[in-house]
């Protein structure tokens, strides 16, 4: 559990664990919409979002007894939901890729991978690509991110939570959140630019130069 905070849902969780369905229903009512909205942004269609949300709560019921409240209930639920959403994306992916190219072991700024493919995006990529294709591309790129970066990206950039909130939800320092978000954004930038960048206008970065 994140330091010096008590889960606001603690009492409901205790009652639910003792078998009180109405307490669990209250937890569902508190979070179903938020979970649905976030999951929808990942799977990008209604049917899948409904199934993922249902699977998430079903899984929460199955594992409630072993939930030790080391994280907040909402964080725990969100993690189950994100895993279910990414599993669904993989099942739906008609062009699965096996390689994840960028090495990203640490939580420090020391070895942040440099941008490789740098090019302005082609004009109106959003307009020219089929929306469905674009959605698949977005989903696939997110699915290829390491989970520890993906959850930070989802909370910070999709749920638009602050660095402090994200840090509290995940029980990590704000610095770690920042480093992970940077890695996530850079990796997504790389993948999206490889797909949508204008090759004829590709640029090379000279890491050592210091323009003055």
């Amino acid at each position: 559990m994140e330091p010096s905070t008590v889960d606001p849902d603690h009492e409901l969780v205790v009652r639910a664990k003792s078998g009180d369905f109405s307490a669990f229903e209250q937890l569902v009512a508190l979070y179903e919409r938020r979970l649905f909205a976030t999951v929808f942004r990942i799977v990008r269609n209604r049917e899948d979002a409904e199934e993922v949300v249902q699977d998430t709560f079903v899984s929460a019921i199955e594992h409630l007894a072993s939930f030790r409240e080391e994280a907040r209930f909402y964080t725990w639920l969100m993690r189950i939901g994100l895993n279910a959403a990414f599993k669904r994306l993989k099942q739906n992916d008609r062009n699965p890729r096996t390689v994840s190219t960028v090495a990203d072991s640490g939580d420090s700024y020391a070895d942040i991978p440099h941008p490789q493919f740098i090019a302005p995006w082609r004009d109106g990529p959003v307009a020219s690509a089929e929306r469905k294709e674009l959605d698949e591309l977005l989903g696939r790129a997110l699915g290829e991110l390491d989970e520890k970066y993906r959850i930070v990206f989802v909370l910070r950039d999709l749920e638009e939570r602050s660095t402090a909130e994200t840090a509290a939800l995940l029980g990590m320092t704000e610095t770690n959140v920042k480093v992970r978000l940077l890695r996530a954004r850079l990796q997504l930038r790389e993948r999206m630019t490889r797909a949508l960048g204008d090759e004829s206008r590709q640029l090379v970065q000279h890491h050592e130069h210091s323009p003055e």
């Binding site: 078998g19 369905f21 669990f24 229903e25 569902v28 179903e32 919409r33 649905f36 909205a37 929808f40 942004r41 990008r44 209604r46 979002a49 409904e50 949300v53 249902q54 709560f57 079903v58 019921i61 199955e62 409630l64 700024y109 942040i112 440099h114 941008p115 740098i118 090019a119 302005p120 995006w121 959003v126 674009l134 959605d135 977005l138 997110l142 950039d157 999709l158 920042k178 978000l181 940077l182 954004r185 850079l186 997504l188 930038r189 999206m192 630019t193 960048g197 640029l203 090379v204 970065q205 000279h206 890491h207 050592e208 130069h209 210091s210 323009p211 003055e212």
Partner: protein
Amino acid sequence: MKCEELLKALNDYVDGHVDPAVCEEFESHLAGCNPCQVVVDNIRNTIELYRSGVPYEMPPEFHDRLRQRLKSKWTKVFGARKE
């Protein structure tokens, strides 16, 4: 500021949280470094694309179906345990 240092300040800059002194350095680097400019644009476009699309409200009929499914699951898990 070098490209390398710019990377570290990138998020704060994109989110508009960068300290004014750093911001000035950042922008003077960008003015002379086309690749970094493009990287910043790419990142903004990427975030924008992920946030785009119409937010989807949870369908009301799903709420009811979900309750029924969860109730039946609950009975299986907790009903069995209580006996």
